[in-house]
Symmetry: C2
Subunit: 248 residues, 2 copies
């Protein structure tokens, strides 16, 4: 019988720029579920960004003309919009909220820039500069600290068209296959499966969110029992190339 | 420490129209993880549809003019397209694949109509007529059979704009809150969380998919340890109202 376990890792302090996040995760996991070979460690983007110093104080931001225009249109702080635009390649929608394509290729509200759970009313948190690099570095450090091989997902909650609410998705991936490709395999009746590539890293991120929550300060979850069936790759694989995207 | 367990329920036979799906689930769960109070039972849409007889034999389908036109444009079997159109309110995109809004309000490829894992090369499987009703009936029957209160999600894998691959989402929901609404609650620094409604039913569906797979004939998963924090509602809550949707 297939079986997965998902543990929330509590106990992390408020993470500050320069903190050794891998050590905080390893120490706190050791006090709860531990870390074992094959575990998938899902880390909320926010603590990764904080450790990497990806914070901006809005009091130091001067909005440009474009930011002022959008800010008036959607009634937002123009300094906040300025930061969003600096993180974006382009604006995809500008009704009620700015939905942009980030420099990573993610399409999400406000380029992932966010006020919540950040100390200081005027400080906002940005996505990591390179989420795959963040995941790879955490994985390297966690492996060094624990002596076991594991996988890391850096995750954030994004909104989706057509469906209500946000859901956690994998932004950075290290040590696991983000996609499981069933194409070419036979289905249960021997017919070839045609369009079935499953975004398992996003499903792992979503599963982790269930034990993380938004306010309980559990920014890390451990998933135990996941067996990778394909070679590892990065979160970049989860970004639909623009030319194959009907909604960009 | 928060902890969830997810079990795949193997052993179900090929499900046929009229089969007592609740009994098949209860019997096979009893042989593996069992069913306990508070469990979330996630059931693949396909076995629900099969039990409900939601199958169409393409040999009995006569494509209309609209179907013939789309079929030529995207090089598909016009009889298949005819079935897709009959399940749809309208076509959202018609490049490479028909993306439509179903009569339920879901936006997905081919209105969820699907060839795979269906016996008979010319037979296709449709989504349940009312996925929430299917979930509610399964829940009622499972509760009657097992004597414990549980929740049911009827789930299917949908594609997403912007991101590669498909992911499992909750189409029908009974006995749990599909959305967790953090709006108005304070974040860890006392600031009010503003736009945070988490689609936990979709995350539960995605988590379940990880132990279900596409070819291993595990159409049911049990999630243990999920604590509902809000009153139950239906999967309809997960459908973004058209007037609030920037991408429809």
């Amino acid at each position: 019988m297939e079986r997965l376990e998902i543990f929330g890792v509590p106990g992390l302090p408020e993470v500050r720029p320069g903190d050794d996040l891998a050590r905080l995760i390893a120490d706190n996991a050791a006090r709860s579920c531990g870390l074992r070979a094959g575990d998938v460690v899902v880390v909320a983007q926010k603590v990764v960004s904080k450790a990497e110093g990806r914070l901006r104080d809005l009091r130091t931001v001067v909005p440009g003309e474009e930011a002022l225009r959008y800010a008036e249109r959607i009634r937002q702080d123009p300094r906040f919009i300025q930061v969003v635009l600096e993180e974006s390649l382009r604006v995809v929608r500008d009704e009620r909220v700015l939905i942009t394509e980030t420099r990573h290729g993610f399409v999400c509200a406000n380029a992932g820039v966010d006020h919540s759970n950040v100390p200081g009313e005027e400080v906002v948190c940005l996505l990591p500069e390179d989420c795959d690099r963040s995941a790879a570095e955490l994985r390297r450090d966690l492996t060094r600290l624990t002596g076991v091989e594991l996988a890391v997902i850096v995750a954030d909650t994004f909104g989706r068209p057509w469906r209500t609410g946000i859901a956690n998705v994998a932004l950075g991936v290290a040590g696991l296959a983000p996609l499981l490709d069933y194409r070419g395999r036979p289905d249960d009746f021997g017919l070839e499966l045609r369009a079935t590539v499953v975004a398992v890293a996003d499903e792992l991120a979503g599963a982790a969110e269930l034990v993380m929550g938004k306010t309980a300060r559990v920014p890390v979850a451990v998933i135990r029992g996941w067996r990778a069936e394909a070679p590892p790759a990065t979160g970049r694989e989860l970004v639909r190339p623009r030319e194959l995207d009907l909604f960009r």
